[in-house]
C-alpha cells in the first residue's frame, strides 16, 4: 500500500482547487501598473514582398504610443533553431533567419510585420487597421511535393530548393535495407498522410514585457513550457539581454501540448517595446491569431514499405517522408521529424533493417513543430498502419503478426537498427493484458450484433513505443542538439520543517504540484501538505529545461530525488552530531533520523530547525542551512510502450464512425499517481481520436488558412469520445533513473490514431468492403463514405 500522499497514491490534484474555482493566475490575469497594450498587424497573404509600410495615419490615432515594424528589428538576432541536422550528403541544413517581425517578405498568413503599442488594446487594434502596407502578393507555396518539384518560387529567396535538409537515418544502413528489400518474398507498400494539427491549448498565448529603467532589468511574463529555455533564446540569440538582467516568469499556463515550448517573436517584441516606452507592454493572443501563429503539428506525407517473408517475419522497413516545417524553422522543427521520428521506426519489433529518409520542406504556412508526441505519433502511425496492411495481404492475424515480431524480454538491453538502446520492456505482457481487457472471445458476437443493427463493427490494434524522458545531453549533442536536456531541482527545507521544492520542470496542466510533492513526501517523510512546489520563475528556480517530451518526472523527478538524497545525507551528519553517534550508524526512515539499534532519534523537523538555529551543530565541519540542488542528466531515454485496442462501428450508408470502446494497456514503469497517469492517457487518447476522426488544418491553394476557427477546425468533444479504459499494471521499471519511471504524457496521442484507423478498415473488410486499403486521417464521414463508394 502506498503511504498516504506518497508514491503510488491517487492523490487528488491540489492545483485543481484554484483552477476550478477561477483562482488560477495566468499571464493575461496579470496587470502591471502603467501597462500599455500591443497589437500585431499580420499578413493576410501567404507570400508577399513588403514594398512599404505606411504607419503615418496610424501614428496619429488616439492613444498610440509607438509603432514598430520589421525594419526596427533588423539589427537584432533571429529566433534560432535548437537542433542542427545534417543532410545525407553531409551538408548542413538550411537555416534562414526568423526575424522578430517580418522584414522584406511575409511568408505565411498571420506573419506579423508591424506592432502598435497604445494606451488600450482597442486603440492598438484600431491603429493596426489604419496601417497601410504595400505588399506585393507572390504565388503561395503550399503543397510540399510542388515546392520540391518546382523551386522557381521560393519561401526564402536564398534557399534554392525549398528543402531544409534531406536526412537519411541511418545512411550506413541503406544498402543493407535495399538488399533486404530486393531479396524479400513480400513487400507491403503504403502511402499515407499524417494530417496537420492545430494545438489548441485552452489558454491562448500572452506576454508582458516589463523593463525597469531604474535597474535596467527586464521581466517577461509569458505562456511558456520552459522559462529558462525562453530566457536563453532571448538572451543569447535574439535580444542580447544578459541572462542576469532578464527574468522569465511563466505563471499558471493553461495547456501547451508543445506549442508553448517555443520562443515566439511577440515575446521579444513586448520586451523591446517596454524598453522603448519605459512602461510594461502587454499582449494577449486571440483565438484567431492562435490558429495562424501557434506552431502546428504533424503534417507528414510518407511512403512506407515493409519487407516480410511469407510467414510474416519482418525483414526490413523503409520510409520516405516529406515533412512540412512551414515558413520558418520553429525552435525544434528540425529534430521533430528526424531524431524524434526516424529513431522510433523500429517500434517494439525486432525488424533487423530499417532506413528512414526525411526531407523537410519550407512552405508558406505556419511553422510546424513538436505537438504532443512529436514525431513519435508519426512513426507509430506509419508502422502500425503498414503492419495491418501486410497482415491483410499475407492473410495473417494482425494481433499474431505483431506478437510474432515483438522483441522478447531476453533481448534487453536492445540496440535498434535506428540508433536507440531500449533498456527494458515487455511488449507481449501489455498485448496479453489488452487481450484480457477487451473480451476478444466475445468480439465475433459483437460483430454479429452490430450487423443486425446495420452497422459494421471492427477492431483495431496498435502497439506503440516511444523514446521519452528527453534526453541524454551528450547523446543529443552528438546528434546536433544545441541545448542540454538535463533538469534540476532545489529542495529547500525551511527552518520550521516545511519544504519548498524549486523545480526546472514546468507544469501547465500535468499536475506537478501534486505529484512532485508526493515524491518528496515519500522520500523525506514530510506530509505532502507541508511541501510546496515552485516552478516557472527563472529568478527562483535553478536552470531547468522545462516540460515536454514526457520528461518531467523522469528527468526533473530524478533531480528532485538526487537533491533529497543530499538532504538526507546532510541530515545524517547533523543527527550524528546531535545524537552523539557515528554518521554511519544513523538511519533515516519515516521522517526520522535514528541511531541504528537504539531508540535515540531526531525527527526531520528537529534536524531542519537545528540547521537554521545551529546552536548544537557541527559548525566546524558543516555549513548551516538545509538546502540542496541537484542537476540530473539522464543516461538514456526512457521507453514506455503499450498496446491499444479500439472497437468501432461504421455506418456504411453515411460513412460515420463511432468509437465503441478504447482500451489501453500501458507500461509506464513505476507510477507515482495512478489517477493522474490515467488522466494523462485519457487526454492523449482524446487528442489522438481527434486526429484520427476530426481534426485537420487546411490551407487553400493561395495559402489561406481555411480552418481558422472552431467553425471549421473540429475539436473532439466529450460526446465524440468513448469511455477509455486504462491499465498500467504491466510495469517494467526504467533501469536508469532512480524512480524507475518512464513518462506517460504523450502515450495516448501516440498509440491511438493507428488503432482507430485500423479499426475502421477492419470494420469495412469484415463488412465485405475489401477494396479499401487505406483512408487518410481524419476519417470524416465524407472520406469514409467516399472510400466505400469509390
Amino acid at each position: 500500500m502506498p503511504k498516504d500522499g506518497g508514491i503510488g497514491a491517487s492523490t487528488k490534484r491540489r492545483e485543481d482547487i484554484r483552477f476550478l474555482t477561477g483562482k488560477g493566475r495566468y499571464t493575461a490575469d496579470i496587470n502591471l501598473r502603467g501597462q500599455a497594450f500591443a497589437c500585431f498587424l499580420r499578413s493576410d497573404v501567404a507570400h508577399g514582398r513588403i514594398n512599404g509600410i505606411d504607419t503615418s495615419a496610424a501614428a496619429e490615432m488616439p492613444g498610440v504610443l509607438a509603432i514598430l515594424t520589421g525594419e526596427d528589428f533588423k539589427e537584432v538576432g533571429g529566433n534560432p533553431t535548437g537542433w542542427l541536422v545534417q543532410s545525407r550528403n553531409g551538408e548542413t541544413m538550411k537555416e534562414p533567419k526568423r526575424p522578430v517581425l517580418a522584414h522584406g517578405k511575409v511568408r505565411h498568413v498571420g506573419d506579423a510585420y508591424a506592432m502598435v503599442i497604445a494606451e488600450t488594446f482597442e486603440q492598438a487594434q484600431d491603429a493596426c487597421d489604419a496601417i497601410t502596407a504595400d505588399i506585393e502578393e507572390l504565388p503561395a507555396i503550399v503543397d510540399m511535393a510542388a515546392a520540391v518539384a518546382d523551386a522557381s518560387n521560393r519561401v526564402h529567396d536564398e534557399i534554392s530548393d525549398n528543402i531544409v535538409f534531406d536526412w537519411g537515418w541511418i545512411e550506413d544502413n541503406r544498402a543493407a535495407v535495399d538488399a533486404a528489400f530486393a531479396a524479400a518474398p513480400h513487400v507491403t507498400t503504403l502511402e499515407l498522410v499524417n494530417n496537420r494539427l492545430s494545438p489548441n491549448p485552452m489558454e491562448p498565448r500572452a506576454s508582458i514585457g516589463d523593463f525597469d529603467p531604474g535597474t535596467g532589468d527586464y521581466k517577461l511574463y509569458t505562456t511558456s513550457q520552459n522559462p529558462h529555455l525562453s530566457r536563453l533564446l532571448i538572451s543569447a540569440f535574439v535580444m542580447g539581454i544578459p541572462e542576469n538582467k532578464l527574468t522569465v516568469i511563466a505563471p499558471d499556463v493553461g495547456g501547451g501540448f508543445g506549442s508553448k515550448i517555443y520562443h515566439y517573436g511577440e515575446e521579444a517584441a513586448v520586451l523591446a517595446a517596454s524598453k522603448l516606452l519605459n512602461r510594461p507592454v502587454k499582449w494577449v493572443c486571440d483565438r484567431s491569431e492562435a490558429f495562424m501563429t501557434d506552431a502546428h503539428g504533424r503534417d507528414h506525407v510518407t511512403k512506407i514499405e515493409l519487407a516480410t517473408d511469407m510467414e510474416g517475419n519482418f525483414l526490413a522497413l523503409r520510409t520516405e517522408t516529406l515533412a512540412n516545417v512551414g515558413a520558418y524553422l520553429s525552435n525544434f522543427a528540425t529534430c521533430t521529424p528526424t531524431f524524434l521520428h526516424g529513431t522510433l521506426m523500429a517500434g517494439p519489433y525486432k525488424t533487423p533493417h530499417v532506413y528512414v529518409n526525411v526531407k523537410a520542406v519550407f512552405t508558406n504556412t505556419v511553422p510546424v513543430d513538436a505537438y504532443r508526441g512529436a514525431g513519435r505519433p508519426e512513426a507509430t502511425y506509419s508502422i502500425e498502419r503498414v503492419i495491418d496492411k501486410a497482415a491483410r495481404e499475407l492473410g495473417l492475424d494482425p494481433w499474431e503478426l505483431r506478437a510474432k515480431n515483438f522483441l522478447t524480454t531476453d533481448q534487453f538491453p536492445y540496440t535498434t537498427p535506428v540508433g536507440l538502446v531500449y533498456d527494458t520492456g515487455n511488449y507481449h505482457a501489455t498485448l496479453d493484458k489488452l487481450g484480457e481487457m477487451i473480451d476478444r472471445n466475445g468480439f465475433e458476437a459483437r460483430v454479429a450484433e452490430s450487423r443486425a443493427r446495420g452497422k459494421l463493427r471492427g477492431f483495431g490494434l496498435s502497439t506503440w513505443i516511444e523514446a521519452c524522458g528527453i534526453a541524454p545531453s551528450n547523446l543529443v549533442g552528438v546528434l546536433g542538439a544545441r541545448v542540454g536536456l538535463f533538469d534540476s531541482a532545489t529542495v529547500r527545507v525551511n527552518a520550521t520543517g516545511n519544504i519548498s521544492v524549486l523545480v526546472g520542470a514546468h507544469s501547465h496542466g500535468q499536475g506537478h504540484e501534486t505529484v512532485f510533492a508526493q515524491v518528496i513526501s515519500d522520500k523525506l517523510g514530510v506530509p505532502a501538505s507541508s511541501i510546496e512546489i515552485v516552478h516557472g520563475d527563472t529568478s527562483k528556480i535553478p536552470f531547468g529545461m522545462g516540460t515536454y517530451g514526457s520528461r518531467s518526472l523522469a528527468v526533473c523527478g530524478s533531480a528532485m530525488v538526487k537533491a533529497a538524497d543530499k538532504i538526507i545525507a546532510k541530515g545524517k551528519k547533523i543527527a550524528a552530531h546531535m545524537l552523539e553517534a557515528s554518521e554511519d550508524d544513523i538511519v533515516f526512515e519515516d521522517g526520522a533520523f535514528s541511531v541504528t539499534g537504539t531508540d535515540k532519534q531526531k525527527t526531520f523537523g528537529e534536524i531542519a530547525f537545528s540547521a537554521y538555529v545551529p546552536h548544537n551543530y557541527p559548525l566546524e565541519t558543516l555549513e548551516p542551512g538545509l538546502e540542496e540542488t541537484a542537476f540530473y542528466d539522464p543516461s538514456n531515454f526512457t521507453y514506455p510502450a503499450g498496446a491499444y485496442g479500439c472497437e468501432v462501428e461504421v455506418d456504411a450508408e453515411t460513412g460515420r464512425v463511432e468509437i465503441v470502446s478504447f482500451t489501453c494497456a500501458d507500461d509506464f514503469g513505476n507510477v507515482i499517481n495512478p489517477m493522474i497517469v490515467e488522466g494523462q492517457v485519457h487526454g492523449g487518447v482524446a487528442q489522438g481520436i481527434g486526429q484520427a476522426l476530426m481534426e485537420s488544418v487546411r490551407y487553400n491553394e493561395d495559402g489561406q488558412l481555411l480552418t481558422g476557427s472552431y467553425m471549421d477546425y473540429a475539436m473532439p468533444r466529450a460526446d465524440d469520445l468513448p469511455n477509455i479504459t486504462v491499465d498500467h499494471s504491466c510495469a517494467t521499471p526504467c533501469t536508469h533513473n532512480p524512480l524507475g519511471v518512464k513518462g506517460c504524457g504523450e502515450a495516448g496521442a501516440i498509440g491511438s490514431p493507428p488503432a482507430v484507423v485500423n479499426a475502421v478498415l477492419d470494420a469495412l473488410h469484415r463488412g465485405g468492403i475489401t477494396h479499401v486499403t487505406h483512408i487518410d486521417m481524419p476519417l470524416t464521414p465524407s472520406r469514409v463514405w467516399a472510400a466505400i463508394n469509390g
Binding site: 493576410d44 497573404v45 498568413v109 493596426c128 487597421d129 484567431s288 487553400n700 489561406q704 467553425m711
Partner: protein, 177 residues
C-alpha cells in the same frame, strides 16, 4: 472557389452589352455597392460594403473589364481590400449568345478571399460567393429586362405612364425612351 451558371435575359445582346458597360448598372447590380466611378476602358473604382458571417467590411478596390468582344463577352475582374477584414478578389468570365429574341448570359466566377474572411471557412465563403454572384446577375437581369410584372405594378408611381405591354427594366426604359 469556382462556380458557373447561366441566365436567359429577355433583351438582345446589344442591349445587354451596353448595360454591362454602364457604371450605373454595375453600381445597381453589385450588392452593397456604395459608389463606383470610372469607365470601361480604364476600369472602375468601387466601394462595396458587405457583411460576411460575423465580419462586416468596406471594400475599396478596382473593377477592370478585359477581353472585351462587343455583344459576345468579356471578363470582369475585381479586387477589393477590406482593411482588417482581409481582401477579396475574383473574376467573372461572361459570354453572351443570342437566344431567340433574348440573350443567354453564361458566367464562370472564380473568387478568392484572404485574411479574416478566409478564416471564416469555406462553408461561409462559398455560400457567400454564390449569393453574391446570384444577386449580381439577378439584379442585372432585372435592370435589363425589368422585374416581374406584379413588382413593376406595385412600384409604378401614381400618375406615371401606364405600364407598357412589354415590361421594361429601368435600364431599358432609359435607353429606349
Amino acid at each position: 472557389m469556382q462556380l458557373s451558371d447561366q441566365r436567359s435575359i429577355k433583351a438582345d445582346p446589344a442591349t445587354v452589352w451596353a448595360a454591362i458597360l454602364d457604371p450605373e448598372v454595375l453600381k445597381a447590380c453589385i450588392p452593397g455597392c456604395e459608389s463606383i466611378s470610372g469607365n470601361p476602358q480604364d476600369g472602375f473604382e468601387a466601394v462595396v460594403v458587405q457583411k460576411v458571417g460575423p465580419v462586416k467590411a468596406r471594400f475599396t478596390g478596382q473593377v477592370t473589364l478585359s477581353e472585351m468582344v462587343p455583344e459576345e463577352g468579356l471578363k470582369i475582374t475585381g479586387e477589393g481590400k477590406g482593411g482588417p477584414a482581409g481582401f477579396a478578389k475574383g473574376s467573372a468570365q461572361v459570354t453572351m449568345a443570342r437566344e431567340g429574341e433574348g440573350t443567354l448570359l453564361t458566367y464562370a466566377v472564380d473568387a478568392h478571399v484572404g485574411g479574416k474572411l478566409a478564416q471564416l471557412g469555406s462553408r461561409i465563403i462559398d455560400s457567400f460567393t454564390r449569393k453574391m454572384a446570384d444577386q449580381f446577375f439577378e439584379r442585372f437581369q432585372q435592370a435589363v429586362e425589368g422585374p416581374e410584372e406584379e413588382v413593376e405594378l406595385a412600384e409604378a408611381e401614381p400618375g406615371a405612364e401606364a405600364p407598357a405591354t412589354e415590361k421594361k427594366g429601368w435600364f431599358k426604359r432609359i435607353v429606349s425612351r
